[in-house]
Structures are given as structure tokens and as C-alpha cells.
């Protein structure tokens, strides 16, 4: 083995060491970024009412009650999110009533949480212990500014299927999102997400999410191995 071969081997070894260290640092940073991201609060929706927001179909003021029939609210729901364009005042108070076959199942009166761009989160006093199929009524309580107007965002519909504003039907349905009770990070929500990933595929069950994870990790491992070995 001559001197030039030794030098080339040393250069190759040094290059491989640099790649390995960079890769280790890079993947560690990626893992840290992932951990930080997944530690944030998750959206934790239990369901939506499938309405796609395309139009503002009505405007309401304080003292108005908006009711929507035919909603299915899953068990475990602890809050409902609606989009009321113009809802900016932190002091605006709302009421929420869920009823099934004419009987009130749950209700609350509260200052709603603002989640940006007119999105209002109205919590229930207690999370639902069973699925409720019935009406959702949101009341804009009259202690807000009398001049305040809130536009209802959702999709156009027949009058018969539409939202009722103080009992009068309007030609549109409000988009509703049902949120799980309590807070929590993406980590705590991961089993739910994995269970949902196991539905809607050619086969079902937890293996769907596990397989996706295994494939992603294996592809990263293959790429990382190739980067370090640097073989041509």
C-alpha cells in the first residue's frame, strides 16, 4: 500500500466521519423539532357536520338564536366550534343548547373562546357521555354591542334543511366542528389519529398507521445509511 492510497483512504474516512456527524446532528435536530411540534395542543376534533364553508348566508345580531337540526354530535364532545364572521369582541357571550327529541341534553352560557378570524369555541358544561342526534342551538346573548352583526358562514341549502334564525328558516347551513373535551398535545391524541388512519383503507386496524410509520422510518434509514457509507 503506497502513500497516495493511504492519503486517499484518510480523506475518504474523514469525509465519511463528517457525513456521519452531520447526519447524527441533523436527525437529532429533526427529532427535537418533531417532539416540540407534537407537544403543542392538538385540534382534537371528534367530528364535523361536513358543511364546507363557501358563503355567508345570513347575518344576525345580539339577542338572536340560531338552531340547526339533524346534527350528530359524538360522545366525548366537550365544545363546539362555529364560524361567525365579525365575532371579535372578547366580551361577547353565547349560549349553547343541544336537544334530542325535544328534550335538552346539554347546555351552557359562556364567553366564547376566540380562535381567530371569527372562529368561536363554545364549551359545554360537561362532555357528552353518549352520542346525541338532534338540534344544536347557538344564542348570541344580548349583552354585547347592540350594533354588532355576525355573518353565518357555511353552505347554501334548501330552506327546509336550513338553519333557523329565531325560528325562521334561512337557505344555508352553518359549519359546526365538535371538539373533544379537555386539552392535550398531539402525543395524547396520537392513538385516536392512528385509529382513524386504520379506517377507510383496503384493510383496517392499527397496522395501517404502523405500516405507514415503518415505511417512513425505513426509507429514512435507507437514505441515512446511503449518505454515511457514500459508496458509489
Amino acid at each position: 500500500m503506497d502513500a497516495s492510497t493511504d492519503t486517499r483512504d484518510e480523506l475518504l474516512h474523514a469525509s465519511r466521519r463528517r457525513r456521519a456527524v452531520t447526519l447524527a446532528v441533523g436527525l437529532a435536530l429533526l427529532a427535537a423539532a418533531l417532539a416540540a411540534t407534537l407537544s403543542h395542543a392538538a385540534k382534537r376534533r371528534t367530528a364535523t357536520n361536513d358543511v364546507i364553508t363557501t358563503v355567508a348566508f345570513a347575518a344576525v345580531g345580539p339577542g338572536t338564536t340560531i338552531c340547526q337540526r339533524g346534527e350528530r354530535i359524538p360522545s366525548g364532545t366537550g365544545a363546539i366550534r362555529v364560524t361567525l364572521e365579525g365575532a371579535r369582541g372578547a366580551a361577547t357571550r353565547f349560549s349553547l343548547t343541544l336537544s334530542e327529541r325535544g328534550a335538552i341534553v346539554a347546555s351552557s352560557r359562556t364567553v366564547a373562546g376566540q380562535e381567530g378570524a371569527g372562529i368561536v369555541r363554545i364549551p359545554l358544561a360537561q362532555p357528552l357521555r353518549r352520542e346525541v342526534t338532534g338540534s344544536v342551538c347557538v344564542g348570541v346573548l344580548p349583552d354585547g354591542s347592540p350594533a354588532a352583526q355576525y355573518r353565518l358562514l357555511g353552505a347554501p341549502s334548501d330552506l327546509a334543511d336550513g338553519t333557523r334564525v329565531d325560528g325562521a328558516p334561512v337557505a344555508g347551513r352553518l359549519r359546526l366542528e365538535f371538539l373533544a373535551a379537555g386539552g392535550g398535545s398531539w402525543w395524547s391524541f396520537a392513538p385516536t389519529v392512528a385509529r382513524r388512519m386504520g379506517l377507510g383503507h383496503a384493510w383496517s386496524g392499527p397496522t395501517v398507521a404502523l405500516l405507514a410509520l415503518a415505511l417512513t422510518l425505513t426509507s429514512i434509514a435507507a437514505g441515512a445509511w446511503q449518505v454515511v457509507r457514500g459508496e458509489r
Partner: protein, 505 residues
């Protein structure tokens, strides 16, 4: 050792070397590993993205189904009519509520799953659709003929079974694309072997590429055929063109042309590349210089001519399919001046005096933001702050690549013909996409701008990454190259999380 032929496995049953096995044995192991990473990543995407949530997936499935059921490609028509079987599946999957409904999730509950299973098991007729006549009915049939294999293999199952196998086929094409990208880099940048892996893995983990390759869309085969074309042209520039290589170039271009009309954008660049190689080999402009280029173009156009003949005689389709497609410009009478203005603005934004066709700067919000992430039916994107932050590493990579090019001035001048050919390939495809979008704009007042249409140029993107790694200097190249790969992996992982949050949270 990679790059060295492995002779042990290359004997055919007659004792001679099997050409396929011999070719496979010549694949460098590094290229095979990069291709494997791309395959696995595309497979992961194929699971993460719900059925029919890759752009135009329902009509690509419909075309394949029509081909299998009727033994011939569909005929272009004024609207799409999906088969009863596929319509049931879309209803089962609640496709309409997901389409463009960013806030709506996929199937989340056991009752929804039970309903889906019942609808899927009910089946429905498969032969009563028109094969996506409006959206894809005029397109060439090669991709769909390939997808007919997994479709037929899962023929006894449900639509989801067939779609799953078809997505697997697309993922295999992602592996082929990255394999050819690696081989292209090996031919085009022989002096920077350590950067071949950087370029190939950068493509393998590009999330929009993996997302598209995880679904059923003819783009997947177009990317593979185009990457093969780039590799073969680079090989011809470096080693010379012989009859075998000319046939291979023609086959790659022919495969692209038989996959999607967008491949027409690659035709001028390929023709110029072949011409330059032919003239260079003959040391003069003479007729003999045209022989091998003519052979390559003949091989490329032969299947197109065959398809045209079959269209006219057996399949009852327009002889030139494009005349019945969205590219038909006879009814809209495009004005050349306005078209040039539109093409310019399609990528770069308006100059003073131009009629504005786009809001903002398309280079940024259509192409760069689109590359960062535009998933589902192009409705699932990162926050604007993420898109803006991505400009920093992209600009750094571009600057490093330019630095390498400037430092290689003398070597580049010696290869100016090859660079010219690549430039024409780029411009040809970009102009084709922009003109197609202009016709769409005139007909429907809608742009078709999506970054995936430029992915046949992925080999050059890989070359850009490889050059960027080298641009950091010999000492830092291993560090920067590795950092580029890690960045691509991170981009891919966070893109998957974005899509998971969109559909399942």
C-alpha cells in the same frame, strides 16, 4: 463493489447473459438504495393519503377500468361518467365532502367504516363508465395499460383493493425515477461522485414528488420516462451515441409521449440534443450525422403513429387525441402576443404594459409555495410563514449551485452543447405547460398551474442539489450535502404530518 458488473447472476437458460439481469447487475448499489428509499417513501404516502385524494385520481382509475373492461382506451367526451362501481366507492368514502373541504376529515368512526364496507361490498357495474372521457379520455394509454396489471390482479376485490395495488405500481415508478436521476447525475456530473447520492435522495424525499407517486396518476410514469430520457441523453453526450443507445433514447421519449401529452414539451430539447451529438460525432454538419438521431426519433414516434392508426381504425377515437382534449385551441383563437404575455407572467409576473393575468408573483406563490407543499386536491398547504421560511434554504441551495457553475466556467464551455440541450428541454416543457394553461384560461377562465407538471425536470433539480453540495467547497461538501438530505427528510416528514392532521385529526 458498486458500479462493477456482477457476473454470477447474469446467465440465461441458454447459457448466455440475460440482458435484463446483466443490466440490473450493472446498477450501482448506491443508486439501488436511493431508489429503495424513494419506493418506501412513496408507499408510505400511498397509505397516508386517503383513497382518491391525489389530484385526478378518480379519472385515472376510471381510464384504467375502462381499458380493462372494454379492451380499448376511452373516447374523449364532454363530461366524465364514472362506473357504478367507482361511484359507489366514492360515495362510500364520502369523497365529495373531502374534495376541497379542508376542514372535513376522512372516515373516522366505526359506523362510517361499516357503511363504507357495505357500499364497497355491494360492488356495482364496472363497464358502464366512460373512462374519464372529459378529463383523460383523449390521453395516450401507456400508463393505464401498465396499471391494468394491478387492476386485473385485484379484480376479485373491492375498488379499494384495486386502488391499493395500483398505488403500489405508482410507487415502484417513483423508485425507477430516482434510479434514473442517480444514473443521470453519474453521467452528467462525473467529477462529483459524492454528490450523486445528495441529488437522488433530495428527489426521493421531495414530498410533492412522493405524494404524486403515492397515487394513481399518469404523472408517475411521465417522471420515470423523463428521468430515463435525461440519463440516456447525458450518457450519449458523455460516451457517444451508438445504435443501441439511440434506440434506448427513442424508447424513453416514446414511453413519455405514450404516457401524457405534456411529454411533447420534451421533444424539441431531445431533438436538439440528438442533433448536437450526431454533428459532434461526425465532426461536421452532414447527412450521416442525422442517421442515429433519426433512428432515435423514429423509435420514439413509432408507438405514437401506431396509436394514431389504432385510433383511426379500431378504437374509434380522433386520430390525434390532443385535438379532442383540453389543449384543443380551435374554438378559442389564441392571440400570439397575449399568449406570450401570459406565458411570461405564468412564471415570472407582469412587465410594465402587460395585461395582468395573475395576482402577485407566480414564481413565488404558484411554483415555490407549490413545491413546498400543495397536497390533496391542492387545498392542503403549509401556513404562509412556513412557505416564506422555505425561501431561505431554497435560495441558499440555488446560490451554492450557481457558485459551482461559475467556478466550473471552462469545463462548462466545453459542454455548452449539452447545456443548451438541457436548457431547451426546460424551456420546452415550461412553455408547453404555460401554453396549455393559456388555452385552459381562454376556454374556462381557469389556470392549470401546478408544480407537479414541471416534475419531468426532476433530474435537473437533483443536479442542482448535487451542485449546491459541491458549491460549499471540498472540505464542507460532505457536511452541506448531508444537510441537504436531512432537510429533504425533514420537509418530507413535516409534510406527512400536515396531511395526517388534515385528514385524521
Amino acid at each position: 463493489m458498486a458500479g462493477r458488473p456482477r457476473r454470477a447472476l447474469t446467465r440465461s437458460r441458454w447459457g448466455g447473459p440475460s440482458p435484463l439481469r446483466a443490466a440490473l447487475a450493472r446498477i450501482p448499489s448506491a443508486a439501488a438504495v436511493c431508489a429503495l428509499a424513494a419506493l418506501l417513501n412513496a408507499l408510505a404516502w400511498s397509505i397516508v393519503v386517503p383513497a382518491f385524494q391525489v389530484p385526478d385520481e378518480p379519472v385515472h382509475y376510471a381510464y384504467t377500468e375502462y381499458l380493462v373492461q372494454h379492451g380499448k382506451p376511452p373516447k374523449a367526451g364532454p363530461r366524465d361518467r364514472l362506473s357504478s362501481s367507482e361511484q359507489h366507492a366514492l360515495a362510500a368514502l364520502r369523497f365529495r365532502r373531502l374534495l376541497f373541504g379542508v376542514g372535513n376529515g376522512a372516515i373516522w368512526t366505526a359506523p362510517e367504516q361499516t357503511r363504507m364496507r357495505a357500499l364497497l361490498d355491494a360492488g356495482g357495474r364496472r363497464a358502464d363508465g366512460n373512462g374519464g372521457a372529459y378529463a383523460t379520455g383523449s390521453e395516450p394509454p401507456l400508463f393505464y395499460a401498465l396499471q391494468a396489471v394491478p387492476y386485473a390482479l385485484a379484480s376479485g376485490g373491492t375498488v379499494l383493493d384495486r386502488l391499493t395495488l395500483m398505488r403500489l405500481c405508482s410507487a415502484l415508478l417513483a423508485g425507477a425515477t430516482v434510479l434514473f436521476v442517480f444514473l443521470f447525475l453519474r453521467e452528467a456530473l462525473p467529477a462529483v461522485p459524492e454528490a450523486w447520492t445528495v441529488g437522488a435522495l433530495g428527489v426521493a424525499f421531495a414530498p410533492m414528488f412522493a405524494f404524486m407517486s403515492g397515487g394513481v396518476n399518469s404523472d408517475a410514469l411521465l417522471y420515470a420516462a423523463s428521468a430515463a430520457l435525461f440519463y440516456l441523453l447525458a450518457r450519449a453526450f458523455r460516451r457517444g451515441l451508438d445504435a443501441r443507445l439511440a434506440v434506448a433514447v427513442g424508447a424513453a421519449l416514446g414511453a413519455a409521449l405514450m404516457t401524457k401529452y405534456n411529454a411533447l414539451g420534451l421533444l424539441p430539447g431531445t431533438a436538439i440534443a440528438l442533433l448536437l451529438i450526431g454533428v459532434h460525432q461526425q465532426h461536421a454538419w452532414r447527412m450521416r450525422a442525422l442517421a442515429l438521431p433519426a433512428l432515435a426519433l423514429g423509435v420514439a414516434t413509432a408507438p405514437v403513429a401506431l396509436e394514431m392508426a389504432l385510433n383511426a381504425t379500431v378504437w374509434d377515437r380522433p386520430v390525434v387525441g390532443a385535438t379532442a382534449s383540453g389543449f384543443d385551441a380551435t374554438a378559442v383563437h389564441p392571440a400570439i402576443g397575449e399568449m406570450l404575455s401570459y406565458v411570461w407572467q405564468f412564471y415570472l409576473g407582469p412587465l410594465p404594459g402587460m395585461t395582468r393575468h395573475f395576482v402577485g408573483v407566480p414564481l413565488r406563490y404558484l411554483w415555490i409555495h407549490g413545491f413546498v407543499g400543495s397536497f390533496g386536491w391542492a387545498e392542503t398547504t403549509f401556513r404562509p410563514a412556513v412557505n416564506d421560511a422555505a425561501l431561505v434554504p431554497l435560495a441558499a441551495i440555488a446560490l451554492l449551485a450557481v457558485r459551482t457553475l461559475i467556478a466550473s466556467g471552462r469545463r462548462l464551455r466545453a459542454r455548452r452543447g449539452e447545456l443548451l440541450a438541457y436548457a431547451v428541454l426546460v424551456l420546452g416543457l415550461m412553455c408547453f405547460v404555460a401554453v396549455a394553461s393559456y388555452i385552459s384560461y381562454l376556454r374556462y377562465q381557469a389556470s392549470i398551474a401546478q408544480v407537479r407538471y414541471l416534475f419531468p425536470l426532476l433530474p435537473l433539480y437533483g443536479a442542482g442539489l448535487a451542485l449546491a453540495a459541491r458549491g460549499a467547497g471540498r472540505q464542507l461538501a460532505p457536511i452541506v450535502g448531508t444537510a441537504i438530505v436531512v432537510l429533504a427528510i425533514a420537509h418530507n416528514v413535516f409534510s406527512q404530518l400536515l396531511v395526517i392532521a388534515r385528514y385524521y385529526a
